[in-house]
């Protein structure tokens, strides 16, 4: 039987289909009986989705014109 400590390490593999069939079965069985590990997996999943929504790397003012000027040198400024 898996312990909760094992589940801590298996979280990403579980969410990203990285477990083989016996491992997946063991994780699912553990999740059925362990509310804390269900909460942990839910938090990990929400962390992944939240990181995906971060707007960490804003395009700086002026860069758009610079890039378009290089891509379409023959054209005028963007609208």
């Amino acid at each position: 039987m898996l312990k909760c400590r094992d589940m801590l390490e298996l979280g990403t593999a579980y969410l990203d289909d990285g477990l083989n069939r016996p491992e997946l079965w063991a994780v699912r069985m553990h999740l059925l009986i362990c509310p804390n590990c269900r909460a942990y997996i839910q938090k990990l999943k929400l962390t992944v989705n939240t990181v995906g929504e971060l707007e960490s790397y804003r395009t700086r003012e002026g860069e758009v014109e610079l890039i378009l000027g290089r891509v379409f040198p023959q054209a005028g400024r963007a609208d």
């Binding site: 801590l8 939240t50 990181v51 960490s56 890039i67």
Partner: protein, 205 residues
């Protein structure tokens, strides 16, 4: 049909070279693409690589088949450019020992002697990214901690969770195995989970 309707509409407008659509695409992705290039080749060369990638992308756009999102496709073009630059410089995208270190990992101290949680996990105040990121402070806090991750962990997280690349592509990019990418990604995710946990608990970064 693999591309979403909005993106298909954008692609149609891009193919007609509508300037507003082209500007929208660059505005949406340039900052992120530069961050990926920076993490691989450093500040000095990142800008040129991303500019060249944009030229290549607009040229190749008529051949874009929509098998992935535009975001993922653009990231791949930047990665190719960055890897060519590394080869030219005879450098490798090294993964350091620090990247695999699991010291002070969040939650690792939360188990009792039998390997089970020592106390119940407290739920967060929101169930969706929108609810969590509604607090600008938390978004800023996550940004800060993301930048502080070891380079290979940061790249694994950006390329997988923000850009949607496959593990095999990330492994190729970092010149390591898929298993190692999963370890790097898990370390990065757990650290950011710890950041949210702490913010939820004490209300500050």
């Amino acid at each position: 049909m693999l591309i979403v309707v909005d993106e298909k509409d954008l692609i149609d407008r891009l193919l007609r070279q509508e300037r507003l659509a082209c500007a929208q695409l660059v505005r949406l992705h340039h900052g992120r693409l530069r961050a990926v290039a920076r993490a691989l080749v450093g500040d000095a060369k990142a800008e040129d690589i991303v500019q060249d990638a944009w030229i290549a992308a607009f040229k190749a756009l008529p051949k874009f088949e929509g098998r992935s999102s535009l975001k993922t496709w653009l990231t791949r073009i930047v990665l190719n450019g960055a890897r060519q630059q590394l080869r030219k410089d005879k450098r490798m995208p090294t993964v350091d020992w620090d990247d695999f270190s699991d010291e002070n990992m969040p939650l690792s101290e939360r188990f009792d002697g039998t390997g089970h949680w020592d106390k119940p996990l407290v739920p967060w105040s929101g169930d969706t990214p929108e609810e969590l990121l509604d607090r600008a402070e938390l978004a800023g806090c996550l940004d800060t901690h993301l930048q502080q991750l070891p380079r290979a962990q940061r790249l694994a997280l950006m390329l997988r969770d923000q850009d949607g690349l496959a593990f095999s592509e990330i492994a190729e990019c970092l010149e390591t195995t898929e298993a190692n990418v999963r370890v790097l990604l898990h370390r990065a995710r757990l650290k950011l989970l710890g950041v949210i946990d702490r913010f939820e608990e004490v209300g500050e970064c």
